[in-house]
Symmetry: C2
Subunit: 234 residues, 2 copies
């Protein structure tokens, strides 16, 4: 089974939803057969580099509320994060995530995508580090297992893995996803949002129970098996 | 869409089926959205290293036929290969493919899996090269884009990517595949054998028409979208 998860590092519900999904997966009997793939989704392509805009200023401006009201909204999300044992700071920096997604595709090629995604979420939400700083990003990538020279090269070249990010976003649109997190099991079942742990667990069970492949071509085929290979006309 | 293809480099119908699938894919309007993944399947785990057993000797022994009869069987398969524009030599070497599959998993991590698989098929069937020779294998891997040091390291360590090969074979058994090639589209539709080009083309069209994801959880969810993020209790 394969679960694809569209998410953005700037998205609190993606951070919280990842923990809930993983709890549901941990309770799933066939978890060893599940491959999890991160897919890119930018909530705000026009965001500035994440270096100096406080998230509370962005929220107050975006929703047209006072800073105190933005703090109140953040406090409620922080409570949901705490419910999953996750740190959550409201003094974090707002900003663009394109480079982070490009790095996540590089990390995938090295088999350390989940380690990097986990580290990026923590750096953003629990540690409020400025992810718009290439030096900070490179350090996080290297700690997650990405070779330093490759991380630096990808960050310096805005075209590197850009097509992969756009392809993920195109696929999300094709699947009808308008928000994140968006979970898709075997391109068959979708789950939108940071649902409760049980919802993920049950979705995995249902997808597993219904995972038989329908064989389309049942004619005598040219095939090789234990007993050898078919020979035409034999 | 994702197509997984279980196959073995020693399998003539996998070699021929790959060409037929690719012709079906080339005619498919949404081919740019299709990701193709090679999956490992060994037809003969107990085969010796591919260095000195002629395939005709193996066939004569396996099927209990004369060498002339084995040549006749091979000629019919060669004809099917020629129909796809593929070279096919009956003086090739029989042997183990475990190391080849391990190398293909390394190639996947470098994004050159298809290039290596194509090169291995050609080296085996069209050029009759001894793929049991690590120097030959390394040269082929490097030409396909695998770093030389990593190819040599993987070939020297029988545990490298062994778990990945076994996981592919386990998945094939779970899906009910008893022979190869075995094609699976989005873990939903299966095609067994080197079917005609049209069968692949139609299967891709059918899978695409039927690719809507069923959304399981439709309750109000904690989600972030264009308009911002849900706030609990708001």
């Amino acid at each position: 089974m394969r679960v694809e998860i569209w998410s953005d590092i700037a998205c609190p519900w993606c951070y919280i939803g990842k923990a809930r999904f993983e709890a549901g997966l941990a309770a799933f009997a066939h978890r060893a057969d599940v491959e999890v793939v991160h897919r890119s989704f930018e909530l705000d392509r026009d965001a500035p580099p994440a270096t100096d805009v406080p998230i509370l200023d962005m929220l107050a401006s975006k929703y047209g509320v006072s800073r105190a009201q933005a703090e109140e909204m953040e406090a409620r999300v922080a409570e949901a994060a705490a419910g999953e044992g996750l740190g959550y700071r409201s003094d974090r920096i707002h900003g663009n995530t394109f480079d982070l997604h490009r790095l996540l595709h590089l990390a995938k090629a090295h088999g350390v995508q989940d380690a990097l995604l986990t580290a990026l979420y923590r750096a953003n939400f629990a540690e409020a580090r400025p992810l718009g700083d290439p030096a900070v990003l490179t350090r996080i990538a290297v700690e997650a297992g990405v070779p330093a020279d490759e991380a630096a090269r990808v960050l310096a070249d805005p075209d590197a893995f850009a097509a992969e990010v756009r392809a993920d976003e195109h696929a999300a649109a094709e699947l009808g996803a308008t928000g994140v997190p968006f979970f898709v099991i075997d391109r068959r079942y979708g789950i939108s949002g940071a649902q409760p742990v049980d919802v993920f667990h049950q979705a995995l069970q249902r997808a597993h129970a219904d995972s038989a492949v329908q064989v389309l071509a049942t004619d005598d085929a040219d095939v090789c098996g234990d007993g050898g290979c078919a020979v035409p006309g034999a």
